[in-house]
Symmetry: C2
Subunit: 135 residues, 2 copies
DNA sequence: GTGTTTGCAAATAGTTTGCAAGAAC
DNA sequence: GTTCTTGCAAACTATTTGCAAACAC
């Protein structure tokens, strides 16, 4: 049994053709790739996969609920999806090119925890987007 | 001439009834209020103002372009608008109630600048959302 | 008076849903 | 064989746009 099938099954999802293919697309993404449902759909079409757009949305939602992927929303844009690697990270986004870079900074995370505490919030999560232009 | 009219004119916008009314609604918002176009529209209807939803969207977009307001996007939701006060701030959002609290932390801002620099990005802006539950 | 703005209805973009046919186990 | 999943088309939500009438200056 393939590793992908195993991952799906472990997430409590029946192993179907669309799910495996969509999971493979996500596995093939690099740090700079943050694909929308539409883009994933187009990648599948390019690979001659006969999977409907609605299914892509449904599967991505199931993946998110199962904790396999994380849905991000940069600025105005539509949602983009990336595999949940287990370790948290935030994003640097180039305002000019849209290029994305991931980072994870302990000092930053620590300060965010403190800010939450100072304001009487029990921390549950964070979204940090730094905008800039690649030099 | 009212202060509101002045603000609009200074922003390069002709003073019209819908613009003044929408601006007044925004002025009446507290730190915890982050209203969507739809909500602003409903507030206007409650005040017996006969202003169309499309106009609310158009005016808010003009306000944003003029630097009068800032458009935010929390999580999945629609866009919300707040007056640009000049000083930057970030947001704490209660995952349970949706309640919003603003903050501005120098240490945090400093660290974000450093992270941008470390990654070869010329800093242009930031969006920080801390999620938590109000204790 | 002239150019800008508005209201309405229709269009659009992204996403979700109902349902009958098809796949997984 | 039964239950879950998929594809398609239609529905939906948030937002934008075309256009003729109304307004600001």
């Amino acid at each position: 049994m393939s590793a992908e099938s195993n991952d799906l099954r472990q997430a409590g999802l029946k192993v179907t053709h669309p799910r495996v293919k969509i999971y493979q697309v996500l596995l093939s993404a690099t740090e700079a790739d943050h694909w929308s449902a539409e883009e994933i759909y187009r990648l599948l079409v390019e690979r001659s996969e006969d999977i409907g757009l609605a299914t892509v949305y449904r599967v991505l939602t199931q993946f998110e609920e199962a904790g396999l992927v994380i849905r991000q929303r940069f600025e105005n844009e539509h949602a983009v999806y990336e595999l949940a690697t287990g370790d948290h990270h935030d994003h640097l986004v180039c305002s000019r090119t849209g290029q994305v870079r991931e980072f994870n900074d302990d000092k930053l995370n620590q300060r965010l925890l403190e800010i939450a505490a100072e304001n009487g919030f029990e921390y549950t999560g964070q979204t940090v987007h730094i905008f800039g232009e690649v030099r």
